[in-house]
């Protein structure tokens, strides 16, 4: 049996296994922390910074997804400062890409949109960058729209960790980063892509989607991820 740690999250006394992250412990007890790069079943990278929390006795804010629980830890997931930072992060994302919900395939099923609502973002204070980004529709079944990509790297991780193809990766630096297939070839010309479509299912926005879907029609079923992870780790070969 794994050791148990007890800690306080938002004034709730909580126990969790020693290997769990603050995020997991909080969610198991119904405390919601916003995330974008995290997805159950994929490895965590602590990149989107939305899940930052305050830990008593530490000056720095810590990402809940990659910070392990510790005995007697006191965590705050909500505070005026955290709320402000989360809202600013979402604002930065909206100013970075070209996110126009009304013409997006995932309108109404978009995690970025949901988080925008949940952090109370009613306008963007920052200058829109209006970057000139491309759309890759060379794959026979799927489309990649860089305008809507928030570089969460879920596609990179699901392709590497679950499908085992590692078709996706990141190229460029800073604001010029973009996801690539193979060695930055067109997706349709990729020799490693198995066309499994897992990347389109994990994408939090409308950056990756299946062809032929009309606007606002795309909702995603991600049960497959938990099924595969359970099968691998617990040898449970059934769908719940």
């Amino acid at each position: 049996m794994e050791e148990i740690r007890t800690l306080t999250i938002d004034d709730n006394l909580i126990s969790a296994t020693a290997s769990s992250s603050i995020l997991l412990a909080a969610r198991e007890h119904g405390i919601e922390i916003p995330t974008l790069c995290h997805l159950d079943g994929l490895g965590d990278i602590g990149a989107c910074r939305l899940c930052i929390v305050e830990i008593e006795g530490q000056n720095k804010l810590q990402p809940a997804c990659v910070t392990r629980v510790e005995e007697n830890m006191v965590v705050k997931t909500k505070s005026p400062r955290l709320d402000k930072y989360r809202r600013m992060i979402v604002e930065l994302l909206f100013a970075e890409g070209n996110h126009v919900c009304s013409v997006c395939v995932v309108n109404g099923h978009c995690e970025l949109q949901d988080i925008g609502y949940s952090v109370g973002m009613d306008f963007v204070r920052f200058e829109y960058l209006h970057q000139d980004k491309r759309v890759d529709a060379t794959h026979e079944r799927f489309v990649l729209d860089h305008n809507r990509c928030i570089l969460c790297t879920r596609c990179v991780r699901v392709c590497d960790e679950i499908e085992g193809a590692h078709t996706w990766d990141i190229a460029g630096r800073g604001i010029d980063c973009f996801v690539i297939t193979d060695l930055a070839t067109e997706w349709g010309a990729s020799t490693s892509c198995t066309s499994c479509g897992k990347c389109t299912l994990v994408c939090p926005t409308g950056a990756l989607f299946e062809k032929g879907k009309p606007v606002t029609s795309l909702s995603r079923n991600r049960d497959f991820l938990q099924y595969i992870v359970n099968a691998r780790e617990k040898h449970e070969w059934f769908k719940k």
């Binding site: 990278i45 910070t67 600013m88 604001i175 980063c177």
Partner: protein, 563 residues
């Protein structure tokens, strides 16, 4: 190779040297080479041949001699005379007067107790500019590898770590983490494989300390790494050196080969059971790879992106193994500490910052160059005594330390002792040792913009606050320098600075707002002038003070008192 044989090599080389009547050392490092020192060596050789004394005079190219601003530099032994600004036509004078008649050429001489040297104390730079960096024998003759031999022969692993702990040495890459503690952590972790990595990915604008050390005395870094390898129980070391330093790479390659040939690196070092190899890894030009976790990724052949810590590299590092990661200067200090003892080192410096620190003086300062001073030396001494003050009757405005992670120190803090705590307290940081001096011709908003542009270009793009936040910050600063910003922009700028600092993943993003925050703190009037009066006091931003109530003569550089 045994300890006796090591001494024999040193003794033999010293005997060889004593056969020469004189030595001429020509500085071959960056600054002097670009002002023509490489031709000087040939000219000295020709001159000696013509005078038929070529066999009596040893002429070598050395590493940096420090006083780069007065190059090309030439040092003549045995009288240890430093000649500055040596030109082709000075060569005959030096040879005829100094070498043949033993009369020093006074008008070229810089005294060894002159203000540039008087307050310096050389430990890491001790042999630099005094030995041939391509000769391991020369290094050994100057006491090189004695510390490694002493460590392996007389010390246990704990003993070496204890000396480093006692010395109070702190990481010289900028963070200031206690080196002995780090070594101890890596030593205590039980693992069949451990690594020692030297961070030589120096990339701060205006910094050239590591470069000079690697080019001028590469063996000192190798020796420091080998001592560290012995202390923590590692058998493999890597030096991550940036690709923009081809001479440093070449010198390191040569130095590693020489050490392996003499069995100072490799298997059964100095006839002990200790094995240690060092390999080079060449950086491909990303600033963020100086961040330790990104550096490790890069060595592994991955995309150089930082990952969240903990776990720290001392527990989970290169290929998942415990890894000791230190800066070039930290390793270069280790041999002296082992040789003279930790207590000796801890007597130098201040209470919390021990030892000496190397600085690269650059910008509007008379004596541009490389210096090493005891911790706690005041900024005033560094700028006005060692550095010789501001050229062209300029007025000191600010000193920038810590590169894109640091801040600007204004005139009212000129007496701040330079140590880790004091600099952090006034909103700057020690950093790796770049020190850029600015006078009234620098606009502080423009300076902040410059560093923000650097950070935005060098952000890896992994976390949102750094990837997008730095771009937004840069755009706001750009608006200010164009005279298009509003008071609201200033509010957003300040708010965003705090947010990027608090939420970014790695040190690059967390410290990127520092130059803006420190200039805002000390030079807020300049920001206000840019915004409300479209006026740039240094006349850098080309604004002509459109809305300025009192018209200034835009042709001359106006000077105002900074508060």
């Amino acid at each position: 190779m045994t300890l006796e044989e090591l001494y024999d090599i040193g003794q033999g080389f010293r005997e060889q040297l004593s056969a020469f009547k004189a030595e001429i050392h020509v500085c071959g490092s960056g600054g002097c080479a670009s002002s023509g020192s490489l031709h000087l060596k040939e000219a000295f050789e020709k001159g000696c041949e013509a005078r038929k004394i070529i066999n009596d005079v040893r002429i070598i190219t050395t590493g940096c001699m420090g006083l780069c601003g007065a190059g090309p530099l030439v040092r003549v032994h045995p009288s240890d005379s430093l000649y500055i600004r040596v030109q082709q036509d000075d060569i005959d004078r030096i040879l005829d007067s100094h070498i043949l008649k033993d009369k020093v050429v006074k008008d070229l001489l810089y005294p060894n107790d002159g203000p540039f040297f008087a307050k310096q104390m050389l430990i890491a730079l001790k042999n630099m500019g005094r030995i041939d960096p391509e000769s391991i024998e020369d290094y050994i003759a100057h006491g090189g590898y004695e510390a490694l031999a002493k460590a392996i022969t007389y010390y246990t692993q704990e003993g070496v770590v204890l000396e480093i702990r006692n010395s109070g040495l702190r990481g010289r890459g900028g963070g200031g983490y206690p080196t002995g503690l780090k070594w101890d952590i890596v030593r205590r972790v039980s693992s069949a494989e451990k690594y020692v990595v030297c961070n030589a990915d120096e990339g701060d604008p205006g910094a050239f300390m590591d470069r000079a050390m690697l080019e001028g005395n590469p063996h000192a870094v190798l020796e420091g790494m080998a001592i560290a390898g012995y202390a923590v129980g590692a058998t493999q070391g890597y030096i991550y050196v940036r690709g923009e330093y081809p001479l440093a790479i070449e010198r390191l390659r040569k130095a590693i080969k020489q050490s392996e040939r003499l069995q100072i690196l490799g298997n059964r070092i100095l006839d002990s059971k200790f094995n240690f190899r060092i390999d080079l890894r060449i950086g491909a030009g990303a600033f963020v790879c100086g961040e330790e976790t990104a550096l490790i990724q890069s060595i592994e052949g991955q995309r150089g992106q930082p990952r969240p810590r903990p776990p720290y590299p001392s527990q989970v590092g290169l290929w998942g193994k415990p890894t000791l990661l230190n800066n070039v200067e930290t390793f270069a200090n280790a041999p002296a500490i082992v040789l003279n003892g930790g207590k000796w080192y801890s007597r130098i410096g201040t209470e919390k910052s021990k030892g000496t620190k190397v600085f690269a003086l650059a910008g509007r300062i008379t004596n541009t160059g490389l210096i090493e001073v005891p911790m706690g030396t005041s900024l005033r001494d560094i700028v006005f005594e060692i550095g010789g003050g501001i050229p062209d009757n300029g007025e000191f405005k600010a000193a920038q330390t810590g590169g894109p992670s640091g801040g600007c120190i204004p005139i009212q803090h000129i007496d701040t002792p330079v140590d880790f705590e004091s600099l952090t307290q006034i909103g700057s940081m020690m950093g790796s040792g770049g020190l850029i001096v600015m006078d009234q011709t620098s606009c502080m908003v423009d300076v902040a913009k410059f560093f923000m542009e650097f950070c935005k270009d060098e952000s890896c793009g992994k976390c949102i606050p750094c990837r997008v936040g730095t771009v937004q910050l840069f755009r706001l600063l750009e608006k200010m320098t164009k005279g298009e910003a509003t008071d609201q922009d200033l509010d957003i700028l300040e708010e965003l600075c705090v947010m990027v600092k608090d939420t970014s993943l790695c040190g690059l993003g967390q410290s990127a707002p520092n130059p803006v925050m420190s200039t805002l703190h000390f030079f807020r009037t300049e920001y206000d002038q840019h915004i409300s009066e479209q006026y740039c006091v240094a006349n850098v931003c080309n604004l002509h003070g459109k809305n300025r109530a009192v018209a200034d003569d835009s042709e001359t550089v106006p000077r105002t008192e900074e508060t």
